[in-house]
Point group: C2
Chain length 315, copies 2
């Protein structure tokens, strides 16, 4: 099977055009895309490598779902509406069964996120997936990292640490099932929440390297500090049934790859955010407050300070 046949069969499919239409899509030197008037393009690129970011011996559809979700999560963190993505797929060989399964998982996630495959590249080599996501926000409405203000509330979506615990299960048993494994394989980009937060949140990130490190990006960019309440961290019943509370808290702070949103809100918006959470069934939890003293301090309920591990560093 040649490169062009491979693209035609597995990637130039209507199921993968679940988002915006393309003026010109797969099959030319570039895709040509229309950004709505009054909007800015949001773009982000991620590479996920077999071994480092997923297991090559896992089902291909799970690999595809996870990789696309992780990339789209960056659009959610800007409050952007997903539109298109490009896929650079490096494969050791062109196995038709693997490709069919991968394409199926990719289509599932593309439909869940409302995003269209616009182009990409296929090459032969060690399995790796590089995804370039594109979307838009109204001009000037993107959620950035640098607007947090002293006194703002710090909130997170969903529950934290599930993905890290799910990863540990999958590391020892590739067949692991259940809520925690699902949270690792099928992260849910918080797209609706991100869009709702436009014009409300003062700063936002998605949690890919652990809450402590990703909140740290907000604090550095906004030149402020934070006080977090350890017992406010949202921990799922599934996580607490699997590991000790201390371990769960450590996963929540430093485990990474939750792909939940961490954002700061003026206190006046907190009630409406919690009401939005109830209406939308996206849990939102207030976990702390922005302060003037630089750095992030985490407090036990007895007033003692907790020291987190640092987030994941690639090098």
């Amino acid at each position: 099977m040649g490169e062009f046949d491979l693209i035609k069969r597995y990637f130039d499919r209507p199921e993968l055009r679940a988002g915006q239409v393309m003026s010109i899509g797969i099959g030319d030197d570039c895709a040509m895309l229309d950004i709505p008037q009054g909007c800015q393009l949001a773009v982000s690129s991620d590479t996920l490598l077999a071994g480092a970011h997923f297991f090559s011996d896992m089902p291909a559809h799970q690999i595809a779902q996870r990789c696309l979700a992780a990339s789209v999560s960056d659009l959610a963190a800007m409050g952007a509406t997903p539109a298109w993505f490009n896929l650079c797929l490096t494969l050791p060989d062109a196995d038709p069964d693997w490709l069919a399964d991968f394409s199926q998982g990719l289509a599932c996630q593309a439909q869940a996120c409302g995003i269209s495959l616009a182009g990409g590249d296929t090459t032969k080599g060690p399995l790796s997936i590089s995804i370039h996501v594109m979307g838009w926000t109204p001009t000037g409405a993107a959620l950035t990292r640098n607007g947090a203000k002293i006194g703002d509330a710090i909130l997170v979506s969903g529950s934290l640490g599930d993905s890290a615990a799910g990863l540990r299960l999958i590391q020892t048993n590739r067949q692991a099932q259940g809520y925690l494994a699902e949270r690792y394989w099928q992260p849910t980009p918080r797209l609706s929440l991100g869009q709702w937060l436009r014009q409300k949140a003062t700063a936002c990130v998605d949690i890919s390297d652990g809450l402590a490190q990703d909140l740290g990006h907000i604090l550095k960019a906004s030149d402020c500090g934070a006080d977090l309440q350890l017992n406010q961290l949202p921990l799922s019943p599934a996580l607490l049934s699997q590991v000790s509370k201390a371990q769960a808290q450590d996963y929540a702070l430093s485990g990474g790859e939750d792909f939940e949103l961490c954002f700061t809100l003026p206190q006046t918006h907190v009630a409406s955010a919690l009401a939005y959470a109830q209406d939308s069934a996206v849990p939102i939890t207030k976990i702390g407050t922005i302060g003037s003293e630089l750095g992030c301090r985490i407090w036990h309920s007895d007033g003692a300070e907790y020291k987190p591990q640092s987030g994941y560093q690639h090098f």
Copy 2:
């Protein structure tokens, strides 16, 4: 050196912001970019792997220059104006000397192409480079592959086959210098020509897999055929001094990675294209004519038919 320090030191540099400004650049979850009103976004992605597309033991600045040029060439083929690129860099380790040299080469090429680094990703693994280039054309003005008409002239820019010959020299001697090696290491995206061809060319591709295969994309998309004159293929004196004429013609047809443009023009535009070539110092050569009989036929000057090898296939 952490991932964030690495990005800050080697990639968040003014020298790499040689194209359009970013509303939000490196350092947030997404870059935010403004497409001029009345324009469409052009986007293309390429992955280049050590071993397959370049040699890992070559100077890092040459690797960077070559990879960015190869990607930007896709913008040239659409007649697009370059604006931004995202870089996904997978490295076995974070060697400061290598990174400084890579960053320098990337900045050189970014300046030559007028393109800004907007974001990307760094991961640890086998050396590979995935580049997502973005640019624009006036809405509806992109050069596509599907508009070639019977009777159109077929033209190419520059000379063909140099890069393939340069690669053979480099394969046997990493220190190879001179015109052919340069043509491999520093392809020249034909950006001005591409933009000039808007509203004039009926079809255009860049030559990455060899003239025969890439012209084949135009013929397939436009549902027509071509007759090429073998002795019209533009061959450089350097190429002809290195290999036989037959070998040079074979490199020109099937060697690949020339990153020259192949385009079709109504005969009425040919004279002005040749005048443009003289003014701009970008050589342009008429090599054949679009016909109704499907497929590509190549003719010796004595009227006998020549049979080309096929272009490069990744799988």
